[in-house]
């Protein structure tokens, strides 16, 4: 059984590595990137079942990364992470094609549920039954 491969893109290194470890404990295969450019390059080189993307990042921001991902492959489900910096960012992400958005800090079960829904919609939902 293949674990869902999930790309995490967030400039808060401590956050992204800890979240990756927690997802790994739950049987997923997370890959962490700490800036938009690295995340975008990984998206173009490898395939992912879902992408978890922070909105506010220095350099290439989350919404810009989302637009580029969607232009490259519109089928990859992207779950946006927002703070409360700009309340309109979450809905804006949905307009640009994001699958869902979560407000930090969130419950990991809520994230797993979104990943499950995203992977099911993209057709990779049956590949994994560990969580």
């Amino acid at each position: 059984m293949t674990a869902w491969k999930v790309l995490l893109i967030d400039d808060e290194e401590e956050f992204v590595t800890t979240l990756a470890e927690r997802l790994q404990i739950r049987g997923l295969n997370p890959i962490a990137a700490t800036d938009g450019e690295t995340g975008l390059n990984l998206t173009m080189k490898e395939s992912f079942d879902a992408i978890i993307l922070d909105v506010m990042m220095p350099g290439l921001g989350g919404l810009e990364v989302l637009e580029r991902i969607k232009a490259f492959n519109s089928n990859i489900p992207v779950i946006m992470l927002t703070g409360h910096g700009r309340p309109e960012d979450g809905p804006r992400g949905l307009q640009l094609g994001a699958f869902a958005y979560l407000i930090k800090p969130f419950d990991i079960d809520e994230l797993i549920q979104k990943i499950r829904e995203a992977a099911t919609r993209s057709g990779s939902g049956n590949r994994h039954d560990a969580i």
Binding site: E12, F15, T18, R22, I25, M56, H84, F106
Partner: protein, 224 residues
Amino acid sequence: MTQFRQTEIAFFGRITAGVTHELKNVLAIVNESSGLMQDLMTLSKEAPAYHDRFLKALTSIKGQVQRGQNLIARLNQFAHAPDIAVRSIDLFETAGLVIALSQRFAALKKVTLKVVPPPPSEQRAQATLNLVQFQMALFTAIECWLSLAAPGNELNLHISRKENTCALLLVNEGYFPAGSDPAGNLAAAEKWPLLQNISASLGGSVEIDVPKPGILLVLPITPK
């Protein structure tokens, strides 16, 4: 309000909103780190001696993260108030935010503060006004009452709409000793003149509702 004053307030709001975003990230890291500790404790086969104590402490951390999250969400919403000077607002929602942000001040005086739930017909009461000034008026009215309130008093905010105005009545449901003059004391409160100025700036008025006793703010629902 002058253009420069408006710019100053907007600057304050922008900085505060930026900081709240950073605080969100702090909470997110605390949340994930405590979650990871909980995951590892749950997975541990050796059942360490402090297992239960650790899990209790982690539950406490989670609770505080939630508390911090609520506070930051309110602070962020407040910080965004100056983004657009005059806007359409939901009166109950906005009053609820001001009441929530004022709870700390009320708690210091051992006073209970709440918005009386609106009747179903008024649940979406809207008004177009200067949001910062509206929030300030409501907070100043609360301050006026708090300067006089005794421990155990209950301040209730009633909101209603009548044609082209909205009325906000902040009533002290507490007990007043015989011979005391709460209405007269309110009018003599240090912040009362400020409350009158803000109300006038919003195109409305403020008066003391004697029989309750309460502070009655009457504001137009569209700018004059």
